[in-house]
Structure formats: C-alpha cells, structure tokens
C-alpha cells in the first residue's frame, strides 16, 4: 500500500501480541460507549457551575475535581468525548468520500485530468495540514461542525492521493478492460468495478487517519478554533487548563491524557487492520 503523509509522520508503534491485541479495541469501545452514554452517566451538567468550589481536588462526588469555574471535570470530559469522535471520525468519513471520489476519477480516467488533479493535490499537500485547517476555520468561523469540515478538508488530499494510487493499480487489471469491452462507461467502471476493490484498503487506512484527525482537531481546539466555550471540548480544556498548570496541573493533564489514549488506541487498531490487509 502506498504510504501517505500521515504515515510518514506517524511514530511506529510497537506490535502488540497475544491478549494485548484486544486492548486497543476495548479502549476504543469503552470510549465510544462513554461518549454515547455521557448524558446518562455524567453526574453533572457539563456547563453548569455546580456550586462547589473552583478547582476542587479529586473526591468521590467529583472524581476528577472541578474546573476553574466550579464545573464537574469528570462530566466535562465525558461530554467532550462525543465532539472529539464526531470531529475525527466525521472528518475522516467526509475526507474519504470526497478525496475518494476525486482520487477515483483521477486514477480511472488517467491522462491530463489525472495529471491536473494530482498537481492540485500536490499543491494542497504542500500546506501543512494544520495550516490548511486554520485557513478554513478563519474563513468559516469556529464551531464543532466547522472544525470537522476543516479537518476533513485538510485530509482530502491524503485520501485523494491514496485512492488514486489504489485505483490506478486496479484500472490496469483485465476485469476493467473487460467491463469497457462490454460497453460500460467510465462511471460504471469507477463505481461498480474499481471502487469495491479498493474500499477495504481505503477503510483500513482511514482508521489510522482518525488518530491524525483527532490530534489535528485537538490542536485546533487548543487554538480556540473548535467548540464555543462553555461547550466541553477536550482540546480547549487543555488550553484553559494550561494557564493553571502551576496551581492545578490536572486541569490540563486529564483532558490531554484522554486525547492521547484515544489517539493511541485508534492507532493500534489501525495498525492491526493494516497487518491483516498485508500492508
């Protein structure tokens, strides 16, 4: 499988063996469950001042203490999981859809169209991911949905290039020529012949990129370009807490840790899928 930029930037994870292989799946499963069930299991409203002192220490009532506004930190982190997953998974899904369509056209049609699309993609990829996303957010304004869009847009070139490489590898195979010999048009070739054959490797790669997307999103939230306060957003919580690092370091460390755990677990899952795909 061709390497994407996301690949090159990725730190090589050790390979898990035995029962440990289940661990990342469990962690991701647990986080997804927590994200979905947050409204039910969070003890407090994440944006309400719960009347406790600000920056209260860990206690049974407030397992992660309270933040600088006296809001329950545990509830905020639980409620922050959903947006994180929406942004990272949604962005990758969108990027796979759009980048996939562009890459498919490029790889199947070939010729000057391919050449032009790929040069455009090269130009987009010469922007750092995060800069591309920042430009989009400056244009659209900060919100969770726009953050998802921005991260998606920054990932589109990666998937365009990956899909193009996969599609170009399929299009020279005889079954594609056979379909054309049967009289089918290019649309049929793309959608019915090539696409089903590149979907699996594409989805495997997408899983790994979810981790990159989550990090990009966290970085942008940290810059104040994600959810509008007081909506709980893990990246922004890291930022809010950072100023307090000398007096209440857990304010920045806890949300940071949750982001790290999600990213790491997703990366391990992606690696396992990659192995199975023989990549």
């Amino acid at each position: 499988m061709p390497t994407t930029r996301a690949d090159q930037h990725r730190f090589r994870l050790p390979t898990l063996t035995g029962a440990l292989r289940l661990l990342p799946w469990l962690v991701v499963g647990l986080l997804i469950f927590a994200a979905i069930a947050a409204p039910l299991i969070a003890p407090y409203d994440p944006i309400k001042n719960v009347g406790s002192p600000m920056l209260a220490p860990f206690s049974p009532g407030h397992p992660f203490g309270t933040d600088g506004f006296g809001r329950d930190q545990f509830s905020r982190i639980l409620h922050g999981l959903g947006p994180m997953m929406f942004v990272s998974v949604g962005a990758v899904a969108l990027a796979v859809a759009v980048g996939g369509a562009v890459g498919l056209i490029s790889g199947v049609m070939g010729g000057w169209l391919d050449w032009m699309i790929m040069r455009a993609v090269d130009i987009l990829m010469s922007f750092p991911l995060i800069l591309a996303a920042i430009l989009v957010l400056v244009a659209l304004g900060a919100s969770t949905f726009n953050l998802m869009l921005a991260v998606a847009i920054s990932q589109i070139p990666i998937f365009a290039r990956l899909t193009r490489a996969l599609a170009a590898g399929e299009v020279v195979r005889d079954y594609v020529m056979a379909a054309r010999a049967s009289g089918f048009g290019m649309l049929h070739v793309m959608v019915s012949e090539v696409a089903p054959n590149i979907l699996r490797p594409l989805l495997v790669q997408a899983t790994s990129v979810v981790a990159v997307a989550a990090l990009t999103a966290a970085a942008l939230s940290y810059l104040g370009m994600g959810a509008r306060p007081p909506e709980p957003d893990l990246g922004y919580m890291v930022k809010e807490g950072q100023e307090l690092i000398f007096i209440a370091p857990e304010q920045t460390i806890l949300p940071g840790l949750v982001i790290a755990i999600f990213v790491l677990a997703i990366s391990f899952c992606g690696d396992q899928l990659n192995e199975r795909e023989g990549g």
Binding site: W115, D174, M177, G183, N197
Partner: protein, 325 residues
Amino acid sequence: MTGPLVQIENLTVRYPLGGGLGARGVLGLAPTNLEVQRGELLAIVGESGSGKTTLGRAMLRLIPAEGAIHFDGTEIIGLGRRELAQMRSRMQMIFQDPYSSLNPQKTVGRTLSEVLAHVGIPRAERRARAEELLSQVGLGADAYPRLPRAFSGGQRQRIAIARALATGPDLVVADEPVSALDVSVQAQVVNLLLDLKAERGLTMVFISHDLGLVSAIADRIGVMYFGRLVEIGPAARLSRSPAHPYTALLNDSMPPPSVAAARATLEAAAQTGAVELPSLMDPPRGCPFAPRCGHASASCRETPPALHPHPAGGLVACHHPLNTD
C-alpha cells in the same frame, strides 16, 4: 453482407512513456493493415512482446490507436463515445488471465446479468439467460451466486467466455485464452471455443504464441514480430512452407524461445559486436529481424521490408522470402 468483417488500415499504437503530459511514446504496434473475413478463424502468433495483445486490443478500440478500423463497414476509431458503446456488444474479448479478468468482488451472476442488462435484456429474463449461457460454457446454474474465487482457472475462463457471449457478438478476440491454464484443461477450452464459434457463426481472432496449436485450428495465420505483421496467409501454407525466416524459426522451435532467452543470446552477440539489439524506443532503420536472421543482406539493414504477396499465397514482409518456388 459482403466484404471483410474487420478491415484495419495503418493501425498504430504508441504507448506513453512514463507519466505526465506530452511524454514520448514507444511504438507498440507499427502501422498495420489487416482484414478479418466473416466467419473465419484468424490466428495471430508471435513471441511474447511481439505486439499481439496490442493488436487485439487496438482492433477492438480498447486502447488508444491511430489509423482506421472498419467494423462491418463502420469506421470505429472516429466514432463518438455513444456510437462506440453501441458497437461494443458486437465485438468481444477473452483475456489471457482469467484470474484478473473477472472482478473479484462480483458474483458470476452479477457479472453476467450486468452485461445482459447493458445490452437491453429485460430484468425478468436475465437470470434465465445467464444460466443458459453458463450451461453453454459447461457450467451449472449453481455457479450463478458464487464469487470468482470459488472457481478454478479453467472454470473462470469458461465464465469469461460466457460473459463475452452475453452481448451476442459477431467478433471475438481471444487473447491467448488457454496459455494461463493447466495443460490438462487447455484442449477442453479450445474445443469449447471452436464449438461455440461453429454454433454461433462467430468470427474469431485467436491470439497465441503456439504456432503448432493454431495451425491445427486456424483458417489463416498472421505472424507478428517486433510490433509488426511480418507474414500472413493460409494456415496450411504457413506451417508447411513458411515464407518469413521468423515464421520458419517459430516452426522449428516449438515451443518458441522465450524473450528472455532470445535477449540473452542477442546480448551475448551484441557484446561481440556481431548484432545490434532492436529496441521499441529506438527502432532500427531496416528489418527488425535482420540481426537474428541468417539470410540478412545489406539492404535488410537499410530498408524495412513491406508486406508483399507471396507466390504460394498470403503476404510476407521480407526482402528474401523463403519457399518462393
């Protein structure tokens, strides 16, 4: 209807070299003239790399080509997308490798019924037609819901044949249809093709590197070397008294030498300065076979020979043809 089913004029294929726009090309097929008569079985033989597949695909306009192709009187290189799509059902191809010519994600039934749908068979009839096709190629109806990976190479080639027949073609180009198969099933598949040809009155271009096989089944044989048609004529004449020294070489050395072996010999010769290597990217000026030819003269190295009628029948491109008496 009279005249040849297919008549090609100066058909030329250039493969782009490398990527990008405006790249140079290699000559996959030198300008070639050829006719395929209605109902005949025309075999194309030549070593691997001699341009047989290129000719076959270009003839069906599956790869970009220059020149002219008259299919049943209609010139198809100049045709627009829509008109070409109309013609497609009349000419079909069977590919060399049945492992790559079937979409691994599609069941046999889906592959066939998509084609049937495309040629306008109503939905209600498609399944029955598909099963009928399967039975015609010697497979049971139980093949219908299965994916290609459930089948052996020979069975897959039968599925590919069924797919080709599904459009109801007049012309079938079979590109080395058995060379990827087990020797044990090769004969069955060839026989199947011959039976279907006879039953349906098909015109068939049968591409092979095996002159021995094709001389037994073909009406006419064309011989390709280095992207050119070097000899064409009645099958019996070519195998009995070849006119081109290259045809004679094919006749003598069965199976023909592999390209690698031939190149190794040539390279060894080139080291000693005895011969020069022909290259598609930089074609020799004269006859491309001259470096390997025992009969080559100075004029062979200067002037490329054109196809000329041979006294014993057919055409040959050689300055010093054999068996002229």
